[in-house]
Symmetry: C2
Subunit: 459 residues, 2 copies
């Protein structure tokens, strides 16, 4: 077999990169659990008719076929027909809620961290398999708006932990929030003939110049120049507190839906403001619309500081009907963090680096093959005290064994003496001291691989 080459769109990590992804995922999972979110995993496949229910994404679905399927097996009468890989975690979650509704307690909080697949044509920054971390709260028939604020608070807490400089040290995040009721009510109050078309055009502000959007609002959405001015003025409002309410009112538009949206968004911003920090902050940004998605109230987008070209790396919002089975409707609010979307560029650039390639804190040196059981006994004693370690594969010269540790970033080498006593060497400082495997304890910062950032390395 010749050397295989990577598959475009299917990024994979080296062990020292995977350590970073593991720590990020563990941090997210623990934060979600601290907020009472239960974990679920759904199967990778859904029936094709479910995946295509909303039409828009059909081009991106990978369809499965058994290699040895009989010709008739994928015909309309076959049960195996029409399975596709999920392209997000929302469609599977909605199906899971309906399938298990009788066994779940509502409001139901769940988090889900899994890969998703999209049959994209390979191109820069588009992945065909990538990991998402989703949190959602779903109610039966009703769900109070304070859960929208809860979702924002949970994600702010999680992003804050990722960005904490002495932990993982990711760049900062800016969570942008808007409310569909607010903008739709505003456009309706303004007298726009086609509210959805206005929303679709205003959503282009991140790609087109304001003058061009203004032109389109007049040409395609049938607005007057003044109406288009008002829409752009609304989209220009952003604030880290509820001061945006007065600025919207100053535009002189009134509509019941607008009032409802203003109240919901102001409530959310007030509930979240205490969580703002230097690295992570929430902003009411009235330009956010989430284009084609079926949100009915709050909408979220998120920018990663210094990586704005990635677009929104954490998006979501409120659905009045996440799912519905005829008897009940299940409203939901959620947000989805693109774990791969954030980490692949950071790791490929070397912006985050682990100081070890292996979990081991200690390499137990082997003096000669006969004493391997003694080395194993040391390792077993250390493991019993939750200290990860490995023994050297052979009885090479100690210099070679130390280099084995150095290459992997293992900070300590343990030497067993003839008389059964031992010494442990910190190979960074060269410091070597007598040690007992039943009591020796490394400093807590050495217990697990540490993440360093570009900045920290250069300090």
């Amino acid at each position: 077999m010749s050397k295989p080459t990577p598959l475009s769109g299917f990024p994979e990590f080296l062990p020292e990169q995977r350590i970073i992804e593991q720590q990020v995922v563990a941090t997210l999972a623990r934060t979600f659990e601290l907020h009472g979110f239960a974990n679920i995993e759904t199967r990778a496949v859904e029936p094709l008719d479910q995946l295509l229910r909303k039409g828009e994404t059909s081009k991106e679905v990978y369809v499965l076929r058994r290699l040895q399927a009989r010709d008739d097996e994928h015909s309309d009468t076959s049960k195996d027909k029409g399975l596709g890989l999920h392209f997000d975690l929302t469609v599977p979650f909605a199906r899971y809620v309906l399938e298990n509704a009788g066994k779940l307690d509502f409001p139901f909080r769940r988090y889900q961290i899994q890969p998703v697949w999209r049959g994209e044509r390979p191109q820069e920054g588009r992945y065909r398999q990538f990991t998402q971390a989703d949190i959602d709260i779903v109610g039966r028939d009703s769900l109070s708006p304070h859960h929208d604020a809860e979702i924002a608070r949970v994600m702010l807490d999680a992003l804050g932990r990722l960005a904490q400089p002495d932990l993982l040290g990711l760049p900062g995040f800016r969570l942008q929030v808007n409310n569909r009721k607010l903008i739709q009510g505003f456009y309706a109050g303004l007298g726009a003939p086609d509210v959805d078309e206005v929303m679709r055009l205003v959503d282009k502000l991140d790609k087109l110049a304001p003058e061009e959007v203004h032109r389109l609002l007049v040409a395609e959405a049938g607005l007057t120049g003044d109406q288009a001015d008002a829409c752009l003025a609304l989209a220009g409002i952003h604030a880290t507190d509820d001061s945006f309410v007065d600025r919207v009112r100053a535009l002189g538009v009134s509509h019941d839906l607008l009032e409802e949206g203003l109240e919901e968004l102001a409530g959310l911003i007030r509930a979240c403001a205490p969580l703002n920090s230097e690295r992570v902050r929430i902003v009411a940004d009235l330009s956010i619309a989430r284009g084609l998605d079926y949100y009915t109230g709050t909408v979220f987008e998120t920018r990663l500081d210094g990586y704005e070209s990635l677009g929104s790396i954490c998006s979501g919002g409120r659905y009045d009907a996440l799912a519905s089975d005829g008897r009940n409707t299940y409203p939901g609010v959620g947000i989805s963090l693109g774990v791969s979307r954030v980490l692949v560029p950071l790791l490929q650039r070397g912006a985050l680096v682990a100081d070890r390639k292996v979990p081991s804190v200690v390499l137990v040196a082997v003096t000669d093959e006969e004493s391997r059981p003694a080395a194993e006994a040391i390792a077993t004693a250390l493991r019993a005290r939750d200290i990860a370690c490995e023994t050297h594969p052979d009885a090479a010269k100690f210099g070679k064994q130390i280099r084995h540790a150095e290459r992997r970033g293992i900070p300590y080498v343990w030497f067993c003496q003839q008389d059964g006593s031992g010494e442990v060497k910190d190979i960074r400082s060269g410091n070597q001291v007598p040690a007992d495997p039943d009591t020796w304890q490394p400093p807590s910062q050495d217990l697990h691989p540490r993440i360093t950032t570009e900045g920290k390395q250069h300090q």
Copy 2:
């Protein structure tokens, strides 16, 4: 949308079952890391020609196709052609080693816990998606036999933690080991005309009566009756120590390969014997052959006590060439635990049960909507001290809020008093005491959901 029904062969868990799977996976991962194994994850897909390299499993592969693929896209000239979902974690690992050989340090220890897919026809106990936990050690050009013992020791350690009654309380495990060199050398020394055919037939002993296997050895493998007797006598030997060596020698067959196999197996059993416990033990079992797989030395199978009908739930062995790229050969030894294969039956039978459906230790009661920020502040203080909690969704009567906690298995309800002080109630005992969110600490056994077993519940 009508209520969806489960897809046969794609088992999913309820949140309270998933908690058990999470704890099992975390226990496995931590044990592997304590032994210095680095984690990797590989993409779900491999090129079809790689998946089919060994021929045998072709019928089980799921092939991917983009739904909107152009007609020519899956033709021979297309790059998108021929991607399939991996059916195990060994093929992807071998590919990963070749692809990244220049960036890995050998011997390379890795663990990998991921789903795999097999396009099986739906039937009892056969899954089309299931999770495996694999550990492997791979060398470049050589790998000492003591790593075979290391793999066994690591898995014994992991299984021992799963079976520990006061932790997860899974049933006991019996790890059965044999060595291909031993049996192939024995058959060759015996003068068998087709050693592989003898191995294939002896491997049927778990399905056929010994008399029938004897008949086949004579009829299909060309053995004399005495030779067939000797093969069955060899397969009948098992021992928890190296006493099997003398029993094999007593059969009077000699061959260099047999001697090599005896020495390797005896060394492995001696290195592992100290890890035997009441719940988990290793046995030299000379009937184990692992049929069609390409092992070249040590082979492993594992039985779950009381669930022998599941067959082997943890299998593996030594490959002289896990991978090869023309310049280098990469010998490996590994073992793969069928996480779903063990857990799906245990959870479906209710043999393991979590005492909570959510991670929350505390439900913070809400007195009225105006005081929700005060309840949130209590929750934030508890979370800062790593205590998971949630606030009640509305200001219902306290009796209803307590039932909300009961239904989810949350052990504590926190009541905020008018004056800012608080009281916490253990709803199991009814005991209620004044508490400060900055200092209150639940007993450590209440910090995370606990697993109870059938046996424990009935005590």
